[in-house]
């Protein structure tokens, strides 16, 4: 007993003197700990671009629109100030307007006589240049140049890649017997038609390099998997076995696809080379196995199965083996899609009869429901992992909606024509 008391006392003394030392140093330098944040949007001013007026207007509005729609920036009114990348900014003035960052630029001629969009980004609080660039562009590519500039501003200010120059694929049902596969910029503009068919098209999936789309077409009165090269329009049949062929998903190296085939009875997941050769069966359970999705490291295939009685999400090693169940809450969890960092999984969960976009942190298995809509389907991650694009229904019409992974930001993609469904977000534009 005595020994313990003594020890305690000695420890107490040591502790006190340590505390005294700490206090002494704390007094020499005031230590302040801060937690939390104020407004979550970064105030940024985009001055009107200089140079040829009509082209400058396009660039300015694309840059502002991209940044504003991301939900991460607050647009500060730049006033009537005429300024380009060559002007020296009056930092005090921009600070008083409330801007943390400022971008200014112009449209001019490049050395070879083409157009060039130039800009410079300033940190108003640090009074320094954050970066800048010049893009050679043609008139039809003005919007693309604007997206590139917005991407650079986004990356400099948030630390993650911007996704404004990426593309999305989606399917429009334009009539009872007209289906169109469209490719547009991430803001829904500049849509181009890749495929027109009298029969449905579903499950588009981008190849990792962004040049090809795999999808399921019903043009032969049955589901067949194609790989379509977008620039040339060349299509190859990857899977057309007896029965149904569906749900293509690229492996991260772009060499293989996981597909669902009913050729052996039931719906089973197989892997196949991108040219249609080398078919290998992956799942064996006598149940529905569908909606495969590779983890970004290529190690696992996540999929939907009703082997336990209700549709739930499982995963299996990409080389085969035993499947592990991943989803547990609720009686209908489908369409797993892994985030680009592999840490979370978007999926659709039925809650109170409504199908809602949900996200699971794979390490903790924590599930968060991100929407309050009724008919969410086909989630697809933006390549920076920040947003999830889904098809949903508003007023009985199919629309696309982008939701941030924390559920705070929701935006509708501006696509006017018909019933829109089956979105697939393309890779980063390198």
């Amino acid at each position: 007993m005595l020994g313990i008391v003594l020890k305690l006392r000695r420890f107490g003394l040591v502790a006190i003197s340590a505390l005294a030392l700490l206090q002494a140093s704390a007094h020499a330098q005031l230590t302040i700990e801060i937690t939390g944040a104020g407004t979550n949007r970064i105030p940024v001013a985009i001055a009107d671009f200089g140079g040829e007026a009509s082209a400058a207007r396009v660039i300015t509005s694309v840059v502002r629109g991209d940044l504003e729609r991301s939900g991460l920036f607050k647009m500060i009114d730049p006033g009537a100030a005429v300024m380009t990348e060559a002007s020296a900014p009056v930092y005090e003035e921009w600070k008083s307007r409330g801007a943390d960052a400022l971008a200014a630029g112009s449209i001019g001629e490049s050395t070879d006589g083409r157009r060039e969009a130039r800009f410079r980004l300033y940190d108003v609080t640090k009074q320094s240049v954050l970066g800048g660039s010049a893009f050679v562009t043609s008139k039809p590519m003005l919007r693309a140049a604007g997206h590139r500039i917005a991407d650079m501003i986004y990356e400099k200010l948030t630390g993650e890649p911007g996704i404004f120059s990426t593309r999305v694929a989606y399917v429009i049902k334009a009539g009872a017997a007209r289906y169109e596969l469209h490719i547009s910029d991430a803001d829904g503009q500049n849509a181009q038609v890749a495929l027109i068919s009298k029969e449905p098209i579903i499950s588009p999936s981008w190849s990792p390099e962004g040049g090809r789309l795999a999808y399921v077409s019903f043009e032969n009165k049955k589901p067949v998997v194609y790989v379509h090269s977008l620039a040339s329009g060349k299509r190859i049949v990857v899977a057309n076995f007896k029965g149904s062929n569906s749900a293509p998903a690229w492996s991260p190296d772009g060499r293989k696809l996981a597909v669902v085939l009913s050729k052996d009875g039931g719906s089973q997941i197989f892997t196949v080379n991108a040219d249609g050769s080398g078919v290998q069966r992956l799942t064996t359970a006598n149940a529905i196995n569908t909606e495969p999705n590779f983890s970004p490291d290529g190690q696992f295939v996540y999929f939907t199965s009703d082997r336990g009685g209700s549709p739930q999400i499982y995963r299996i090693a990409a080389g085969g083996g035993d499947a592990q169940r991943v989803s547990f809450e609720g009686s209908y969890n489908v369409t797993p899609r892994l985030s680009p960092d592999g840490k979370s999984m978007a999926f659709i969960s039925r809650r109170d009869g409504s199908f809602r976009l949900s996200i699971m942190d794979l390490a903790s298995r924590q599930v968060q429901i991100l929407t309050d809509s009724h008919k969410d389907e086909s989630p697809t991650f933006s390549p920076n992992g920040r947003m999830i694009l889904i098809a949903t229904e508003v007023g009985g019409r199919g629309v696309l909606s982008a939701v941030s992974i924390d559920g705070r930001i929701k935006q509708r993609l501006s696509i006017a024509a018909g019933d829109v469904r089956e979105p697939a977000w393309g890779p980063l534009n390198k």
């Binding site: 330098q29 005031l30 230590t31 302040i32 700990e33 801060i34 937690t35 939390g36 944040a37 104020g38 407004t39 979550n40 949007r41 970064i42 105030p43 991460l72 600070k95 943390d100 940190d123 609080t125 640090k126 200010l157 948030t158 630390g159 993650e160 992992g385 920040r386 941030s404 992974i405």
Partner: protein, 107 residues
């Protein structure tokens, strides 16, 4: 005894004022933080801030990164934006060099 009591009281008042001073700095900087997206966990960034007696921020130095450069930059921006920093009620509480740490969330 008298003087001892008085100095204890003065120390108490001083520590209250110091708390208020820290609180006002904390509040001002915190309100100027625009968190970048995609922060994982609750990482801590530490800065050394040098200020003039007017509260004007002279220099901001990163002592320990949070591991997220975008978060470090956002906090530095918030500190600079908070210039001039609030002044203490008692001028003797003023410190030219402040040690400022930041975490996105309370525990």
């Amino acid at each position: 005894m008298q003087t001892e009591q008085a100095s204890a009281e003065k120390a108490r008042a001083q520590s209250l004022d110091e708390e208020a001073y820290k609180h006002r700095i904390r509040l001002k900087v915190r309100n100027n933080v625009s968190l970048p997206p995609g922060i994982q966990g609750n990482p801590k960034a530490e800065f050394e801030v040098t200020q003039l007696p007017t509260g004007d921020v002279l220099d901001v130095r990163l002592l320990r990164s949070s591991g997220n450069p975008a978060l470090d930059a956002a906090v530095e921006r918030a500190i600079r934006k908070s210039s001039p920093l609030p002044k203490p009620a008692q001028p003797e509480l003023f410190k030219r060099v402040l040690n400022l740490s930041y975490r996105p969330q309370d525990d």
